[in-house]
Amino acid sequence: MNHTLRISPRLFALVPAAVAINLVVGTIVKELSLPVFLDTVGTVLVAVLAGWRAGALVGTVSQLLLGLLTGYQYLPFVVIQWLLALLASLAGNRRGYAAVWRTVVWGIGAGACCGAVSSVISYYLFGGITGGGVSWVVTGLRSLGASQPMAVFAGSSSTDILDKGIVIVVVGFVLRALPRRILGRFPMAARAVGK
């Protein structure tokens, strides 16, 4: 990020806010002890409103910040944030947030892709271990006799489909309920909900 990359003041205001949303929504969900993370709402929201590059930037800064709180052993998973930003923006260009069922379809699709990539990462870098809920699923499947790659893939993608799927559905609800004022300021949002 150097002087040449002319980031508009709006992006300098939006990115910190979106990273804060990623962290704070994740904390709210943890406090409600719900069985999902939902720590990528900010990434998806900005990817739809300001394009996948902005979304990827939000994901990257979120990962850097998370590293300060929980350690940088999960830094390689920043790739998932980039992928999710790309898919969220893609969905936006194809009116993917216009109705609940569309968000569910895109949610499952994005969740499966993210799950697949994260299982590859966790398989090669962590031998299928990442700590947290998904690893216990993997261990369970392994002990049932599933092969290591199979267990890791099934474990990662099932939890990611649930988590990323809910994030995209939630962002869908938000986008469809945005005031005219914000829709006017973010033309991509209007297209994402098919207005």
Binding site: A13, L14, L23, I28, T70, I129, S143, V174
Partner: protein, 243 residues
Amino acid sequence: MSLADRAHPFTAGTVTLALVALALVLPTTSGTAALYGVTIVIAIATGAGVGVRRGLLAVLPIWILLFILQGVLGDAPRMTAPWGGTLSQPGLQWALSQGSRLGVIATASLAFASVFDPHRFLQAAIARRWPFGAAFLLVATLDAADRLGAQARQLREAQRTRGVRVTGSIATRARALPALVFPLLLASLTEADDRALALETRGLMIQGPRTAIDPPQDRIVDHVVRWCALVCVVLAIIWRVRS
């Protein structure tokens, strides 16, 4: 003020990155295990000992799973375990090396986090003519996360006074989610425009050189330590490539 607090922010950063790089580069289990020991010593010596405990907490679950998945359920050749069962030889080897690698990364980064002062880092970045945008983004994000966190706590109280129940069955708690999350998103998006205005009117978008108000001291010892860390990493890479 511990050693780590007094050191120049870039020094603490460089040492941390060096340890992480070494953890990824060093091949053998004995190498990564030794490095984990070195990391613990450095953290405690420089007054960032709290990073050791936090790092341990972060990787303990991973170690247990590594042992089960790789050690117990790993492939042949097997070896007899002290309690009579069998363990996978390569699996255990891999678990120990990967486990200690993750231990180094977690301990180093959490030790660094415990002494990281974002404002001091920003002053250092300004003094060294780093691109202001990147340093600003990191510090402004930490600030935004604090503010939004406080806003979320107030919102939870406000919605409870309107009758939203946040405890009880999983369905009740899930139903509370929109009331606890959507206002934050709407407020953040609306206020992003006012924030953008403020960034402009406070001069944070000016491209010119900036003045560091109280830049941290960058002593000779800081330079020496940074160079040493760099040299270690380069040596490790050369050694790894050659062997």
